[in-house]
Symmetry: C3
Subunit: 343 residues, 3 copies
């Protein structure tokens, strides 16, 4: 519970209406009711305000809604997220190493750590203050984990990898699996030991079931603030810049370097040994087959400007028709040529 | 073991031959032998009957096979599945909470539950009669699981999610991971708490490694009888209708609504905030980029009728040739124009 | 530590320079220093030799590098891998069944097995000499595992499956999940019991999060030496030949047979019930929709020769332009026809 005024202060906004109004919950505009606050981030949903039964609404400056309690701020979506976080309350108190967890004696845990049953923490592991390991998390030897990290059930971090502060691993995320490296030896393959590590910097989040391979030599590094969705594949020796986001099932092949503040759609891919610049947006299922310069919005394989790809994709359906038209025209042309020659 | 007559009664079919014949096993037509029953669901395999050594064969009405023991029924493939289930025998007896499992005292288990070693069951979890948790399953707090569910090893169900009766989770399926929601806050991203849940209705099956994200607010819901293959991604706030099937590595982006009785091929995808109707078939790797009406068979990106896509895909290979032909024709046309002008 | 001479003997190469030089580490050419050995497998990196500070360099015969310590051999990349393996040292000594592991009494373990805490090993499981199960591995009943296998954390092997010697499972790999088989029964689906198994032959490696479904009847088989990357899907009853490699997120649909010594790029796919020959290379995201003969390099959907696909993909971007050109030409042609008729 919080008053509307408290929430306005939290997000740096202003109240129009009753500042003492008690708010219990954030809820969607068409389901919200008594004691709920909702938000309108997109002007096209303003028409829903009339029928909305929420006690208060987060809106941008200039929105008219006579008789309603409004929280006015520049970015209602961000305000919604911050209020949701605030109302959710603080984390539950730390529980220490719970019965049924196995933590090596040589591991060192800072204050406020919670390690649930079924977790296995290896030799010489270091875990920072306030970090929580949900049930069934496995940490191999010599891993270093920062403060206030959240590792969900079934997440696995292999030997020597490093997680900075506030890293979140969704369930079954795998950090530090072997890179896919084999040297041809006649017709068979010889496994190249993958002796490098993975580094996840501050505020990185890795989605459920996503796999970040360790480097063959050196490191695979994902920089501060980057967020990967579920079932994403990051191969060995990849580097990803700060504040980049990748949607589910995207895949980055070995040794490629991705810039900062990029956005990749679902199932997008980057081939190996490439460089992708900063602020690059790749549409869903787009695939980079050569280096990509910064500040572009691209789609398709090979990547082309997104608008051009949209047009070409629509033309694709007309291909059979185009072939027939070509054949018809060739025939007409031939007839004309004959006729002109005869004249 | 069962007699041919018993099996005929099980599947609502008729015996032609020896009703007392003992059948021990269902086996493929080209490997079956003594005491085996096999089936011919596709007429193109009828020619294999001559060399088939099975003791009995499940066929459709009208199939001629002199001197053979036949089980005649309308749907041999369904009969095969039912007989296989029957001969496999009933489930092993319940084992209760086995040593090495951790079940919170506040959890409530109905009769006939089996919880294998290495499982972790959280506070206030409810588990229905006859449900089995294989080793290493993790159930977070406040989850509700119905009767006769089967959760395979490594499956994870996060807080507050709901599984109805007879839900099957294959190994490492993840239910209730955080949706991929972040609000831009300057150049960095602010995590939007994902406080909704996932509901899996009766008879839903989720494949190995598949991830079903919880809703940001409200619920992600998969309706009765829907089956998802392995490594499928279902984003937050998605709804999927009844009896829909999706092959491996398909992905549905946030807030999309999929109808009932749809069939999606492998690696197919649906972009966010879309509606797909009922009885829609999307071919392998097809991708919906806008709303899709019911009762269609579609492929490609953007989706077009499957037959049209097949033709266009074949024409695709001719594109370089078509461009050259266009250039040649342009030249011929120019020559003709000059010539006609001169005349 | 080893002398350069010892390493040369290990890989069947020759020393040029100081055979007694002590080598501690293999390291990348631009980061290597004192006591390091590095390698040049690709002639285009020879220019880096001048600035390289490694104590020794693995090169092919004929490379000139006055005053440097060289290890000369035919395949520097393979030599690098073998030296890396050697310097990494032997595996840690076996630890037996560690506290916190659950192994059924009916299971039989050969000598030198290590089973970490949190592992669950079912009834009548057999595990060969020198095999290691990292924490949280789950082995269902009646599984047979060969010698010197390495099963990483969270790997799951379901009932009756068979792993031959030296199989490696990366974290969270799933072996023997149910195949995706359902028989339509009116509008709903009836689950077809998947009673077959998976066989992984010698030296097979399965990537993190990859899923290998058990056969409906019979077996899914992956033959000797085949390597699958992360998040790969192998459906029921698939067979894959020897020494084939598949990059991440590839998917093979049910009952398809893949030959030996094939190479599939990332996200590549094969539809169901197909046969792919030997020595087939399929480019990233290529998709087989019909049988594929041996000894080809193919891309696209449907598959076409890779070079043709490259050209067609580039032409794709020109499609809107081509359509316009077609329309312009049609108009010019019509005008000409009118003019010629009038003449």
């Amino acid at each position: 519970m919080a008053t509307l005024q408290q929430l306005a202060e939290l997000v740096g906004g202003q109240v129009q209406g009753d500042p003492a109004l008690e708010i219990a919950r954030v809820y969607p505009i068409d389901q919200a009711g008594e004691s709920d606050i909702t938000f309108v981030a997109n002007p096209k949903y303003l028409s829903k305000l009339d029928q909305c039964r929420a006690s208060a609404i987060i809106v941008t400056p200039g929105v008219e809604a006579a008789g309603r309690n409004l929280l006015i701020c520049a970015n209602p979506y961000l305000a919604f997220a911050k209020i949701l976080t605030f109302l959710q309350g603080s984390r539950t108190p730390a529980k220490g190493v719970m019965a049924g967890a196995h933590v090596a004696e040589s591991a060192s845990l800072e204050e406020g750590v919670t390690i649930h049953p079924g977790c296995i923490v290896g030799e010489k592991v270091q875990i920072g203050a306030g970090t929580t390991l949900y049930p069934g998390v496995v940490i191999y030897d010599d891993v270093v984990i920062g403060s206030d990290c959240l590792l969900h059930a079934g997440a696995i971090v292999r030997e020597n990898c490093i997680l900075h502060d506030r890293v979140i691993l969704q369930p079954s995320a795998v950090i530090g699996s072997d890179g896919f490296g084999f040297a041809p030896d006649g017709s068979a393959y010889y496994k190249i030991p993958q002796v490098g590590i993975v580094v996840l910097e501050e505020d990185v989040e890795i989605g459920a079931g996503s796999c970040i391979d360790r480097a063959a030599l050196g490191e695979t590094r994902i920089r501060r603030g980057t967020k990967l969705d579920n079932l994403v594949q990051i191969a060995h020796n990849v580097e990803i810049g700060e504040d980049t986001v990748m949607a589910a099932q995207a895949g980055i092949a070995g040794s490629s370097k991705i810039g900062r503040h990029c956005t990749f759609g679902g199932q997008a891919a980057v081939a190996g040994h490439l460089t992708v610049g900063d602020n690059v947006m790749i549409g869903g299922r787009g695939g980079a087959t050569k280096n990509v310069a910064s500040n572009q919005l691209l789609s398709g394989v090979p990547l082309i400007p997104h608008k051009q790809w949209l047009k070409a994709s629509i033309s694709f359906a007309k291909l059979p028709e185009m072939r027939k038209e070509l054949q018809r025209m060739a025939k007409r042309l031939e007839e004309l040529e004959t006729q002109v020659k005869e004249d």
